[in-house]
């Protein structure tokens, strides 16, 4: 009896796993087929011939440039976010000043803001300082909107660093700048790695800011780029599938290598609401 119950429970978990994985599997399979085979054959039959040319076609057809934009915009925003968040968290948790508590609550409130309420004013602000259709506008927006969550993840770690570190550094005549960059920052590497992974997922997948601020093809990132691109190839399922797989591949690869960091970061981001 116990055995039957156990089997039933296990079976229900596997059903959920299938539900999560089957649409992606189907996507990958049809990304290697042509329309004739997709429409005529069974959905999960392996392609009679693996049509990797679908991937080449969409990469050369415009996805390459979107991919490149996603890479550099994501990377630059990650560097700025993690650096500024680390500096601010250091100032709030390790330095002594009267307003630190108030400033911290400001960042915490920042976690709850619905971005759509800020979108129109942001657009008109950027328009007046030439940051519309300028990737730098997107980079600073990503940085600003990811700072609160990044700081929340860093905070816990900074609170646990022993006070003796600064004491020793100060007695040795070390300046605050050297203490931060050469002592504290290297010590926070594990938690910084978590914030990097989380920022990577957020930035790579972001849609509405790019869709609103960027109009030139040459600056579009993957999320917005594939949107137009799929319009062009509307009827070629293989090409659409290849485009989608290319757009999600970097995140999947990051997940395979850093799944524990991702799990950690996503659990920590649960405070975001």
């Amino acid at each position: 009896m116990k055995r039957v119950g156990y089997f039933f429970l296990y079976f229900s978990l596997l059903v959920v796993a299938l539900f999560q994985i089957v649409p992606l599997l189907w996507l990958f399979i049809f990304s290697l087929k042509d329309n004739r085979e997709i429409f005529a054959g069974s959905p999960f039959a392996l392609p009679s011939e693996f049509r990797w040319e679908n991937y080449l076609k969409v990469w050369d057809g415009g996805i390459g440039i979107y991919f490149f934009n996603s890479v550099w915009i994501t990377t630059l925003a990650i560097v700025l976010t993690v650096l500024f968040a680390s500096m601010a968290t250091f100032a709030i948790t390790r330095m002594r000043w009267r307003l630190s508590g108030a400033v911290l609550s400001l960042f915490i409130i920042g976690l709850m803001i619905p971005i759509h309420s800020a979108l129109i004013p942001l657009y008109s602000m950027f328009l007046s300082v030439n940051l519309i259709d300028n990737p730098l506008g997107v980079v600073i927006t990503y940085t600003a909107y990811n700072l609160p969550i990044t700081m929340m993840i860093l905070l816990g770690f900074y609170y646990t660093l022993p006070k003796e570190i600064e004491e020793a550094a100060v007695i040795d005549g070390c300046s605050v700048n050297r203490m931060f960059f050469q002592v504290i920052l290297p010590m926070t590497t594990p938690v910084m790695a978590t914030t990097v992974v989380i920022n990577m997922i957020y930035n790579w997948n972001e849609f509405v800011f790019v869709n609103t601020f960027i109009s030139s093809e040459k600056y579009k990132t993957l999320t917005v780029g594939i949107q137009n691109f799929i319009g062009q190839y509307m009827t070629d399922w293989g090409a659409i599938g290849a485009t989608l797989i290319i757009s999600v591949l970097p995140i999947i690869i990051a997940f395979i290598f850093f799944s524990n960091k991702v799990v950690e970061g996503i659990s920590a981001s649960a405070v975001k609401g």
């Binding site: 796993a17 500024f84 602000m125 700072l147 100060v170 997948n205 599938g241 609401g273």
Partner: protein, 292 residues
């Protein structure tokens, strides 16, 4: 030591990049949104002050209320689905082999962009070649529906990918909370003769009440802000049947260039989100904190 660590200039230097960015790009736009809501404005030309007209129009706009209704429906669906995630997490946390791998598989959709998810599910729902209808035809359903083109089905059809996307996230949170319960408590209950079901409902569930309350807030507030997936999948259609608050606001501003009215709707979205967050927190937060 104290003197070095309370140097005002250095503090300003360390806090200001983050503080300035958040003030200028997050908080000031929010205030401006309320202010622009008082204007008639096409986004390019001059602003004309028209008082509360936009807000009054917003409160009488049937399209806005219908989009708010859809947002609240999604919020209710999302909250109810938390029950499924809880059950799965209980099973997963009961010393199942491979639970670590399963949890990670569940999480994969959460990592993908809403645009990719939307495009994938447009294909899943394709009336003639999508896997859903191919499957339905195989098991003998003769005229399976055109899911995304049917006004009475579209909201449910959109909810399935939302479920797909967030399942792993909530399961992860519940699983972590369940694993945090000390084994000794469970052991004590077992010795007293409690059944597995009693342990789950009478001991574990009350102990993770606080986490459940946080996820209820997340599910509701997240649904009220929902945008990307719907915008890409249906862009609010057919005929407004899947319009939500954020997509309605977005269209007003960036398709109709009605920036003043769009700002007012955006500001109402902010107010509604804050009020709902406050109410849900008040209703769901347990009175006393549980320590163990």
């Amino acid at each position: 030591m104290n003197k070095v660590m309370s140097n005002k200039l250095l503090i300003a230097l360390y806090i200001s990049p983050a503080l300035l960015l958040v003030l200028v790009l997050v908080f000031i736009p929010l205030i401006l949104s309320g202010y622009y809501g008082l204007m008639e404005w096409d986004g390019i030309g001059d602003k004309t002050f028209i008082g509360l007209e936009n807000y009054i129009n917003g409160l009488q706009d049937m399209k806005f209320w219908s989009s708010a209704y859809h947002s609240f429906l999604l919020a209710i669906f999302s909250t109810l689905s938390l029950g499924i995630y809880l059950v799965i997490s209980f099973i997963l946390a009961s010393k199942i082999k491979g639970s670590d791998l399963l949890r990670k598989i569940y999480l994969i959709p959460m990592l993908l962009s809403s645009v990719a998810i939307a495009q994938l599910w447009i294909k899943v729902y394709n009336p003639s070649n999508g896997i859903l209808n191919v499957f339905l035809k195989q098991i003998g359903v003769e005229n399976p529906p055109a899911w995304l083109a049917d006004p009475s089905l579209v909201l449910f059809a959109i909810f399935i990918p939302i479920l797909w996307q967030y399942a792993g996230f909530y399961i992860l949170i519940y699983y972590a909370a369940l694993k945090n319960i000390p084994e000794s408590l469970i052991e004590a209950a077992r010795i007293d003769g409690a059944s597995a079901f009693q342990i789950a409902t009478k001991i574990k569930l009350p102990l993770i009440k606080e986490v459940v309350s946080v996820t209820v807030v997340l599910a509701i507030v997240g649904s009220l802000k929902y945008f990307d997936l719907i915008y890409v999948m249906t862009s609010g259609g057919p005929n407004g049947a899947s319009e939500v608050m954020a997509s309605y606001m977005y269209k007003l501003a960036f398709s109709s260039y009605n920036f003043g009215y769009g700002s007012a709707i955006g500001f109402l979205l902010l107010i509604i989100t804050l009020i709902v967050t406050f109410i849900v927190r008040k209703l769901t937060t347990p009175k006393e904190r549980i320590e163990y």
